[in-house]
C-alpha cells in the first residue's frame, strides 16, 4: 500500500502522558464569570509501549473520554505533556499537529453519531487517505479495507443509515485504519452494541491489531472487555489514575482499594453468583467540581485513615511495573 511511513522512531514508548490536566470552567450569570472548575482530568500519567494495548477503565464521569479527546487536541489542556514518539502533542503548532494527527485515530462509542449521514462509505473511509496519498487507486484500497473489517466492497456506495449498529462500528473502524495510524484510541467502541454483536467487534479489533500492529488505547467502563483485550490496564477515579499494571497483575492482585471494589462489584456471570454476593463499597462518586481533599477515594474507602483525608497519595511502583497511588503503600506504612 502506497503510504509513507517516515518519521518513525523505532524505540521508546509510542505515547508518554505526563501530568496531564483538564479543568473545564463553569460559567454563571450574565457576565459568564468563571465560578469554579470541573477537575475532569487532574494530573494523569501513563505510558503506552509500541504495539501495546492499554485499557483505561473507570466509572462514568471519571475523565476517560476527556483523556482521549485531549490526545487529539480537541481541547486545549490546562497543563501537562503528551509525548507522541517523543514529541509533545500538547505543545505542537498547527502544521506539526496536523502531521501527527494522521498517525493517531479515534473510534467513538456511538457509531450513529460519528458518521456523517450525507457521505457514502467510500468517502467516509477513503477521503482522508485519498487526500494524504494522492493514490489513484484509492477505491480499490477502500474495497480492500472494507474486506478486512468484515464488510463487502459493494457496501462502499451506501450511506451510514443503511447499516446496523455493528456494521456502522465496522465502518468507523475502517475509517480509523485507512491512514494506517500508529496509535488508535477507541472510546467505548462496543458499549452501544447489542451483546451478541459486541463479540464480533471485539474479535475484529483483536485481529486487526495483530495484523496492523498499531498501539492501542482502549477506553471502557466494562472491566471484563478490558481484561479480554488489554495488555496493561490503568484505573481512573475522579480525574486521577490510581493504579496501573499488567492485565494479569491488575485483575489477579489489585492493590488499590478502589480497584478492588470495582472488580468485586462486577456481576459475575456464573452459577452460584447470587449465593456468593459480597458487600461492596458504599456511597456515590463525589463531584469533580469540588473533589475530596487528600486521596479522592477516601470518602468511600473502607480502609481510609487520617493521612488519606489530608494528603494526596503519589504514584509509586509497589511491585515491578505495578504502580499504585494509595497511602497504604507508603514507605512509612511498611515501617
Amino acid at each position: 500500500m502506497a503510504m509513507d511511513t517516515t518519521e518513525t522512531t523505532a524505540d521508546g514508548p509510542i505515547l508518554e502522558v505526563r501530568d496531564l490536566k483538564m479543568y473545564f470552567p463553569i460559567r454563571k450569570g450574565l457576565l459568564k464569570r468563571t465560578v469554579g472548575h470541573v477537575h475532569a482530568v487532574d494530573g494523569v500519567n501513563f505510558t503506552i509501549q509500541r504495539g501495546e494495548t492499554l485499557g483505561l477503565v473507570g466509572e462514568s464521569g471519571c475523565g476517560k473520554s476527556t483523556v482521549g479527546r485531549l490526545l487529539l487536541r480537541l481541547y486545549a489542556p490546562t497543563a501537562g505533556e503528551a509525548l507522541f514518539e517523543g514529541r509533545d502533542l500538547m505543545a505542537m503548532q498547527t502544521d506539526e499537529l496536523n502531521r501527527a494527527r494522521r498517525h493517531i485515530q479515534i473510534i467513538f462509542q456511538d457509531p450513529f453519531a460519528s458518521l456523517n449521514p450525507r457521505f457514502r462509505v467510500k468517502e467516509l473511509v477513503g477521503e482522508a487517505y485519498r487526500l494524504h496519498t494522492g493514490d489513484k487507486d484509492w477505491v480499490a484500497y477502500v474495497a480492500d479495507l472494507l474486506g478486512k473489517v468484515g464488510l463487502q466492497a459493494d457496501h462502499m456506495n451506501r450511506y451510514p443509515h443503511e447499516f446496523s449498529g455493528g456494521q456502522r462500528q465496522r465502518i468507523g473502524i475502517a475509517r480509523a485504519l485507512a491512514l494506517q495510524p500508529r496509535l488508535i484510541i477507541a472510546d467505548e467502541p462496543v458499549s452501544a452494541l447489542d451483546v451478541s454483536v459486541q463479540a464480533q467487534v471485539v474479535n475484529l479489533l483483536d485481529s486487526l491489531k495483530a495484523e496492523f500492529g498499531f498501539s492501542f488505547l482502549f477506553i471502557s467502563h466494562d472491566l471484563s472487555v478490558v481484561e479480554h483485550i488489554a495488555d496493561r490496564v490503568a484505573v481512573m477515579y475522579l480525574g486521577e489514575i490510581v493504579e496501573t499494571a499488567s492485565d494479569r497483575n491488575l485483575y489477579q492482585d489489585p492493590l488499590h482499594p478502589y480497584t478492588q471494589a470495582l472488580i468485586a462489584a462486577v456481576p459475575k456471570a456464573e452459577a452460584g453468583a447470587k449465593r456468593r454476593r459480597k458487600e461492596v463499597v458504599r456511597g456515590d462518586v463525589p463531584s469533580p467540581i469540588n473533589p475530596p481533599s487528600g486521596c479522592r477515594f477516601h470518602t468511600r474507602c473502607p480502609r481510609a485513615f487520617a493521612r488519606c483525608r489530608s494528603e494526596r497519595p503519589r504514584m509509586r511502583e509497589e511491585k515491578p511495573d505495578h504502580w499504585v497511588a494509595c497511602h497504604l503503600y507508603d514507605e512509612a506504612e511498611h515501617g
Binding site: 462514568s60 451478541s196 463479540a199 471485539v202 474479535n203 489477579q252 468485586a264 456481576p267 452459577a271 461492596v280
Partner: protein
Amino acid sequence: MAETPILEVTGLKTHFHTPEGVVRAVDGVDFTLMPGRTLGILGESGSGKSVTALSVMRLVADPPGRIVDGRIMFEGRDLLALSPAEMRKIRGGEISMIFQEPMTSLNPVYTLGDQIAEVFQIHEGMNREQAWAGATDMLEQVGIPNPESRVDDYPHQFSGGMRQRAMIAMAIACRSRLLIADEPTTALDVTIQAQILDLLLKLQEDMGMAMMLITHDLGVIAETSDDVVVMYAGEVVERLGIDTLFDDPRHPYTRGLLNSIPRLGEKFTRGKQPLEEIPGTVPNLIDYDPGCPFAARCGQAMARCHTERPPLFKLNPAHYSKCWLSEADAEGRAGVAAAG
C-alpha cells in the same frame, strides 16, 4: 410444588400497528413466577422485554399497541379481563414497576417527597402528614443519606444512583406483592449497580415480594435470579432455573450468548481465546418468517428450522426450550406452537 404461582403468562402476543406493518414485539411469551422468587428476563435490545412487562401492567399504548392473544393470571385473577378501574387499583398497589426510563416515572416539577407521599395517599388512604412521614421513611429505607432534608429535593438534584433509589422507594411504598424492575441498574456504574441490587434483594427478603427483573446483562441475572426466561425476537426461547442456565443451557441462542461475553479471570485460567460470535443481527419483527426466528444466525440449524416454527419443548418441569434440537429429549410441549 403445590404452591400456586403469583404470575402466570401463557401465549402472550402484543403487536404494534405501524405504517410499516405489524410489529410483532411480543409473539409467544410463556412463563411462571412463584411467590417470593425472582424471575430474570434476559434478552438483547428490542427482544420484547419491556413490552412484556408493560403488557402485564396493561400499560401498552393502544393504539398503536394491542395485546392480541394470551392470558395473564395474577394470583388466580385474569388481568386481561379486569376493568380499567380494577387494573388501576392493582397497579401501584399489588403490582408495582420500576420503569426503564427513570425520568418517565419521576415528575421533574414535584419534589421527591410529594411524589412518594402521593402513593401513600392514593393507595393507603393516608392524610398528608402521615404520607409525608412515610415518604421520609421510605427514602431512609432505600439508603438516601439525610432523608429529612432530601425529601424536599427535585429529581434533577439527585444523582443517577439516588434517582434510581427514589424510584425504588416509590415502587415499594405500598408493599406490593410483585415488583417488576425493568433494567433497574443499566444506566448505573458497577459500584452503584451493586448497591442497588443489594437493596432490591434485601427488600425482597424483608417483604417477601416476588420480583421480575429485566436485563440484558447475564451477570446481573446470575446475581439476582432464581429462574430465567431468555427472549429472542419477541419470543421466549428458553425457560430454566439459574443453575441450569450455566450448566446445561439447550437453546443455541442461549448457548451463544453465554459464550460471547468475556468473563473476568477466564483469560488467565483458560488462556486468551476469541469470543464466540453470533453471526448476523436480530431479525426485524415485521416480516414474518415461518421458521425459527433464530435460524438465520444459528450454527446448528437444520432444513426444518427454516420452514417450521419450533414449539416450546418441555425438557423437565423446570426447563423448556423452543428449538427443534430439544425435541428428542422432550417430555412434551407447552405453550402454543406459534403458527403464522
